[in-house]
Structure formats: structure tokens, C-alpha cells
Symmetry: C2
Subunit: 482 residues, 2 copies
């Protein structure tokens, strides 16, 4: 059997053939057809070459059509297959003659059906790949989203290049990841939906991303893993330089049953995955939203926190109680502040009805930028703290006569963080009132002004806890401090 | 000592005196002053009588002012006090002469400071109340929001009457609750911020709500409880007819420390609270959002689920795995469907690549309303299921040429639920893509069309799990089936 894991050759593709393009396929169906993909790529500004393959046509949608892949006058980088499952082996035999650099089988109806027919088709594909050396992604996958190459697999999704990659067994999750990342201003290097992973699997793709110069953070959605040992070794090797964030789906019994039906995966086994995360330093998350939050802090926190002892600076009694509970729920420690910190704060903060606790209930410091700066410096000097969260309600930014403006806050926090806080990260949580939208909008404005921020204190706590555990992993293996 | 717990007399108030109204108090401060409260009530359309009290004025903001409470020519329903803490005992002595039905002390600076001065003031208030029989709310509280009486304590909050009450030690949480409830279309009977609960406490207020004809669901935010046994007995008595939903703040160590500083409360003691919930049937939640979700299902689910065995009907492989995991995380069971259900579904559903699992990955039924209705009926007949969730992406409602319209879905689901599903509740979860807003908007439209719906599958799972546990509690005590 030839080596299938040198995925990077011919990727991102500059030339793509499409097998499964009908001559007049404008049937409006949400499914995935070659015709639709060609249109998506054309509309997205892909500048490579597109080859529709159809033995009954000479031209499709203005492109010259070819009867077979092997009839195309160049060796293409990628063949995209959307024909029905039983026709796939025949297409692969044709590909074997043309020797494209990669083959992507979108079609479903293989091992994931659980039926004998699907399994027989799997065996046929494996035999052809073994005999011919074809590199195959899928089946039952959606493919590639590479903004820098204007390659996409979905309609109506943004293409913003950046340092975060996402590997996903689920095409649906790939789409949601792209949308979430764009919404939070996180640019993407490569998103790859690889489906059943019959041949090319997550390990091969992690290996590729390990040396991809455009990728700094690797995110993954996994259902099942066939070569667990190999994936573990690869993630262990990659994570000290490129953090690996993993959403493992199907850890529950009903989730595992669904994963078996979705991508023929054996999911489950929570203890095995606990060990996996512990040994590799991979960062576990439980949703796309949390994954993007963690990626965002990994990119923007400077430095990562050296431990999990935190403070939350905010105002309001009930919200301060909730902040303490949220930190504890996320596994963060909220130690009492040092006596020096408390006496320093008391020297200039007028307290109406609160002692100096942690979380800090100090609304007064938000009225005066000098007090806020001074408070941040004081907290930065506290040896008992590893990170500082600032909690602000979105109503702050609509009460202009009372509070400084959002940009004044952002400027002050960024300045103090850059010049006066040593190696202690600070981040902002905008708290929700009735709706997440305004909080997200303000958080985004803070990020654009250079201040790490998310639109929920709970989410900041969870993401901070994750990245702090990652930093402790790095320390434990003696990796360079980030 | 006189009995202080017959809170309902003179409530909601028709006449209110304000002590703490300066003659020219237009200082723009977010704090709580009598002048501000008068303006809020006037602008909100309160039709009762307002009496500013100030010995140095004869008129304030167009209202006749009185030198003392006892100089007011009627016995007022409520005296609102916002003078500084040391001046409060003197005002209470004046109140004792006037004998108002209730006194509300907004001022902070009492037991919650932890200082000797605050504790001495507490003792003075207790002594005056004991000697004079004054009924006192607070100190350190915000007061009342009663939409049906046009009474409010905050600016810029909606006043929508309805069947849900909220008791809160935190004024901030009271405000957020009002906003969240309005955003979700949940109308309110009474919201009461009662602060330190030095005299009138949560138990007194629960006792009042037990017989309040406008209240069908009682929500509470608690930090500490002084008379735990009494509260337990009251909640136990109320919960079979009016469900009681409780967010207990400060269950973590840092949260408990903050609660001590916020409202002088002894929080913590998770085991005690676990026992409390188990014995009373009160429904535990962890945030305002979850509280409103649960209230919403309590009001709209008909009937409540008789157990926690559920199915989720939706489409998309990765989302189906996530749905299984979300159910498990919330403590719901997702049993394999009965053989009859599976063969019935297979008789008309064309499966491309999925078996009939649970959660159900059946996108096909969303294209044809007859299939959807038939599927719901089939699931309703499955004896292994207690409740049915329908998961739809908000993108369904922007792809009009592919899918039925939102109102067609809502109508079909409501009709089947009302006439053909026996006693099995059905609810809709609109799933988020990049933003919660569109999901919430669609969920609201479903609710307005008579279909219980929330803008997140995770939130539906958690709220459903809570109300199903409540129903099981009712069954266990032999209460009437709801």
C-alpha cells in the first residue's frame, strides 16, 4: 500500500475537475452537486482552472467539458466527485489513469449507512487506492475553504484569510465555524471537511497543518478516530508550537450512536479522551462557539496566563456574586487579594458599601480613567493573580454623560496592558443584558482596538480557563514561554 | 415583637412618600434618589399619589412637599427612604407616628458593610420595628416593579403585565430579569428587589405571592436565607400549584464571599441547597436567562413532560451528534425509538445515508408538511418517549423556495400538538449560526403562533430537563397532573 498521508501536494488546488455535473442541473436542492460547486467557486473569485466532466456534454455553463478525467489535457490538482455511490469506483479507476494529486469524494452512502452495500463500496475504494496510490479525501465530505486561494465549499460565507485552521468530520460544523469565526473577526487559513476519513484522516491533515506556514492555531471537530496512537503523537508534537483545540463530539451515549450513523465513527470512551487531552496538551472545548472563543484568546492574549488565579473587576452586587460563581464553574481560582493590593486600592477608592473582595465590586473606578489605570496597575502587581478580567455592562456605552466612551476605555486598557502590566494578561468581558448582540458588538470594537474581549463573562471565564491550562501544560513539558 | 410578614397590605401602593428628595436634585448620577424615582413613576404613568418629603421645601418638581411623613394628610401605603444610612433611624421614628402600610429603605451602608457602624444601625432598625410594628423592606434594596399598577424602579424598562413574579436580593438582577422577560415575551406580575432582608424576607414575600391571583410562576434570586426552615415549608406548600424557580447565587466559595459583602448573606452550603430543592420541588437554575427559559416552558408546555425520555427531530450529521450530547449534558435520556416507530418512519421516509437513530437525522421531513405532521404523530405514539423537540436552523426561514414558510411550520406543529399528540409536549429549538439574534427572533415568532420555542437547542434541553424533574416531583407527591 502506498503512502497516503503527504496531503499537502497540490493543495490548495489550482486546477479542479468535477465528476457529477449534469448538463442542465439547475435543480434547486440544498444538496451538494458539482454544478453548484463550480458556480460557488466562480462567484467567489477562484482563479484556477475548472473542468466539468460529463461524457454527454462538450460545454457546461460556459466551461469546456471533458468525457473523463483522463481526457483533461493537464494533470489536475483535485478531482471532486459527486456522482452516486455505486458509480464512484468507476470514476476512481478513471482517476487512476489521470493521476490527479488529490481526489475528494463528496458522495455519501458508504460505511456510514451501516449496510452491506456501503461497506462493500468502502472495500472497493480501499482496494483501488492501495493498488493505484490515489490520495482520497472522504467519502461523505464537503471539502475545502481556503480564503487566501478563494476556494470555498459553501454559498454565502465570508472569506477572510487568517491564522486559524479547522478540520471537521462534519460539513455542517465547518460551515458554522466559518460563520462564527467571521462574526468574531477571526481569519481562517484552511477549513477542511473530511467526512468518513476512509483514507486521508485527521492525523494526515494535522501533519499537513503542522508545517503550513499560514496556520498558527489548529481547531478540530472529531467524531471518531481510527489511528488514535498516531493522532496522539502528532498532536503532542504540534501543540507546543501550534495550539490544538478539539471539540470531541459523541462523548455521550446518544451522541456516540449518532456519530456512528453520521460518519461511521466509533466515538465515546470519555476516559480515553481525558487521557488524550492530558498527554497532548490539546485544548478541549464543547461547541463551535467555545472553540472560536479559545482561538481568539490564543491569538490575542499577550502573554497567556501563567496560572488560573484571577480577579474580575466590575460593579454591582448581584453581578459580582455571579462573577465569582462563573469563575468557580470554569475552574478558575479567585483568591483574596494581597494585603498590599487592598490597602493600595483603599488609598484612593471611596467605598460606599463594599469591602475589597475578589471579585472586585468597584463601580467607582469606571467613572474615572485615571482610577481605572491605577487599579489595573495595582492588580498587575499582585503576586497572587495570574490574569485580570474587566467586566463592563453594555449599558456603559450608551450612558455617555456618565461614563467615558468605549474608545477611551479601550485606549486606556490597551496602553496599560502594553506598557505597565508586565507579563499579566488583561481581557474584557462585556456582559449581556437582554441580548447577546450589543455585547458582541462592543466586544468586537474592543478587539479591533487591540484589547482581548468577548461578549459574555461566562465565556471569557471558560476560554481563559482553557488557555491557562494549555500554558500550564507548556510549562510542565518545559516548552518556551509564549 | 409584632408580626411583620403580612406583606400584602397596601401593596401595590396607591400612595407613596419619598424621604430623600433634595430641592434641586438633578445631579446626574446612576444612583438611586427619591427625585429620580418620582420622575420614573411619573413618566411611567403611575396614577397614585406622590409625596416628596423635605423640611426645607414646599414644592418639588410640581408636587406639594411635606416637612415630615407624619405631616402628610393621608396614611400612605409606602414610604420610600433614600437618605444616608445614619439618618434612617430618625426617619423611621417619624414613620412610626404616621403608620404607613410599608416602608422601603433603599439606602445601603448597613450590615453588608461588615463594619461596626452598619451593624449598630441594623440593631436600631430592628428595635424600632419591634417597638412600632413598622413593616420594613430592605435596607439596600431597589423596590418594586408592578406593570399592572404602572409601578417601576428602573428607567427604560418595559412594563408588560403577566403571570410571572420575581423576588431578588439583587437590584441589578431584577433589572436584567425584567429586560430578559420582556425580550422573550414573558409578562410580569410583581418584581421585588428586597436587598438585605433585615425584616421582610424572601419567605414573607413567597407567602404573599402564594395567594396573589396575578402570579402563576414564582422566580427567585437568593443569596442567603436567614429562616431556612420557614422558607422551605412555604416553598413546599406553594410549588405544587405555583412552580418556584430559584437561582441560588454564591454556591461557590468566591461567590459566597461576594454575597457576604453584597447583602450580608451567608451563602454557600451546596449540600443544604441540594436537599432544599429535592424536598420542595423548587426548580434550580444558574442564570437569569435559564430562569426565564424555564418560566417560559412552564407557561407554554401543555402538558409538562411526564418523564425525561426525549427525541430531537432535525437534520445534519454533526448537529445530530451535538444534539445527542446536549441532551445527555442536560440529563435527558435519548432512548432508541421503538421498533414500531422505526418501521412506520421507514415506510414513508426515504433515507440517503442514515439509519433511524435517536436523535433523528431526517432533513427530508422538513421539506413536506405532510411528512412533518405524520412524523410528529408517529413520535407521539412511541411509548418510550416523554417529549419531542424539533430542531430547525434559522437558515430554514430565509430559503423560501426550498422550505415551507415559518408560519406554515408553526401552524402545522401547533395543530398536531393541539389535536393529535395526546398528552405529549412538543417544542421547537431554533439553532444559532453566527448570532443568537435571528434564532431568538424566529423562536419568538413560533411562540407568538402558539408553539413553545427557544433560540438554542442547548437551552431547550436544559429547561426541558428542569420542568420534567418538576413534573416528576409533582407525581411523586401525588399532586394533580398539570
Amino acid at each position: 500500500m502506498t503512502e497516503q498521508n503527504d496531503f499537502g501536494e497540490g493543495f490548495p488546488p489550482k486546477s479542479i475537475a468535477f465528476v457529477g455535473v449534469s448538463r442542465t442541473n439547475h435543480f434547486q436542492h440544498p444538496g451538494y452537486t458539482g454544478s453548484k460547486l463550480i458556480r460557488i467557486l466562480q462567484e467567489g473569485g477562484f482563479e484556477g482552472r475548472l473542468y466539468p466532466v460529463n461524457p454527454k456534454a462538450t460545454e457546461i455553463d460556459g466551461l469546456k467539458a471533458y468525457p473523463t478525467v483522463s481526457a483533461i489535457p493537464e494533470t489536475v490538482d483535485l478531482v471532486n466527485i459527486t456522482v452516486p455511490a455505486p458509480a464512484v469506483p468507476g470514476v476512481l479507476e478513471d482517476c487512476a489513469r489521470a493521476r490527479p494529486r488529490n481526489v475528494q469524494i463528496c458522495t455519501s452512502g458508504f460505511g456510514e449507512t451501516g449496510g452491506a452495500e456501503g461497506k462493500a463500496l468502502d472495500a472497493q475504494i480501499l482496494e483501488i487506492a492501495s493498488r493505484t496510490g490515489l490520495r482520497i479525501i472522504g467519502p461523505n465530505c464537503m471539502g475545502f475553504h481556503v480564503p487566501s486561494a478563494r476556494i470555498q465549499m459553501f454559498e454565502n460565507v465570508p472569506m477572510e484569510p487568517g491564522p486559524v485552521a479547522f478540520l471537521s468530520q462534519s460539513g455542517g460544523h465547518a460551515r458554522v465555524f466559518i460563520l462564527h469565526a467571521s462574526h468574531k473577526g477571526v481569519g481562517l487559513s484552511k477549513v477542511i471537511s473530511y467526512g468518513n476519513a476512509l483514507l486521508t484522516d485527521e492525523a494526515d491533515l494535522v501533519e499537513y497543518l503542522a508545517t503550513d506556514p499560514d496556520t498558527r492555531v489548529v481547531c478540530m471537530y472529531l467524531e471518531g478516530v481510527k489511528k488514535g496512537r498516531r493522532l496522539m503523537e502528532l498532536v503532542q508534537a504540534v501543540s507546543p508550537t501550534k495550539p490544538v483545540v478539539i471539540w470531541k463530539g459523541g462523548l455521550s451515549a446518544p451522541g456516540a450512536r449518532a456519530a456512528a450513523s453520521h460518519t461511521a465513527s466509533l466515538a465515546g470512551e470519555r476516559q480515553i479522551w481525558d487521557a488524550f487531552f492530558k498527554q497532548t496538551g490539546a485544548i478541549p472545548v464543547g461547541s463551535i462557539e467555545e472553540m472560536v472563543d479559545v482561538a481568539l484568546l490564543l491569538l490575542h492574549l499577550k502573554p497567556l496566563p501563567q496560572g488560573n488565579r484571577v480577579t474580575v473587576l466590575g460593579g454591582g452586587g448581584g453581578d459580582t456574586v455571579a462573577a465569582g460563581d462563573a469563575c468557580a464553574e470554569a475552574g478558575l481560582e479567585v483568591p483574596p487579594l494581597s494585603p498590599q493590593t487592598r490597602s493600595e486600592l483603599l488609598s484612593y477608592v471611596y467605598l460606599v458599601n463594599q469591602g475589597i473582595g475578589n471579585p472586585l465590586d468597584l463601580p467607582i473606578v469606571f467613572y474615572d480613567m485615571n482610577n481605572l489605570r491605577r487599579t489595573l496597575r495595582t492588580l498587575a502587581d499582585d503576586p497572587l493573580l495570574d490574569a485580570i478580567m474587566i467586566r463592563m455592562g453594555s449599558e456603559f456605552f450608551v450612558m455617555d454623560q456618565l461614563f467615558p466612551s468605549r474608545s477611551q476605555y479601550a485606549e486606556a486598557i490597551r496602553d496599560v496592558a502594553e506598557h505597565e502590566m508586565g507579563r499579566k494578561p488583561v481581557m474584557v468581558a462585556i456582559t449581556d443584558e437582554t441580548s447577546v448582540e450589543p455585547a458582541e458588538k462592543h466586544a468586537r470594537a474592543f478587539r479591533e482596538a487591540g484589547v482581548p474581549a468577548l461578549g459574555s463573562l461566562r465565556r471569557v471565564c471558560h476560554a481563559l480557563s482553557r488557555v491557562s491550562a494549555y500554558q500550564r501544560y507548556l510549562t510542565s513539558i518545559g516548552a518556551e514561554v509564549r
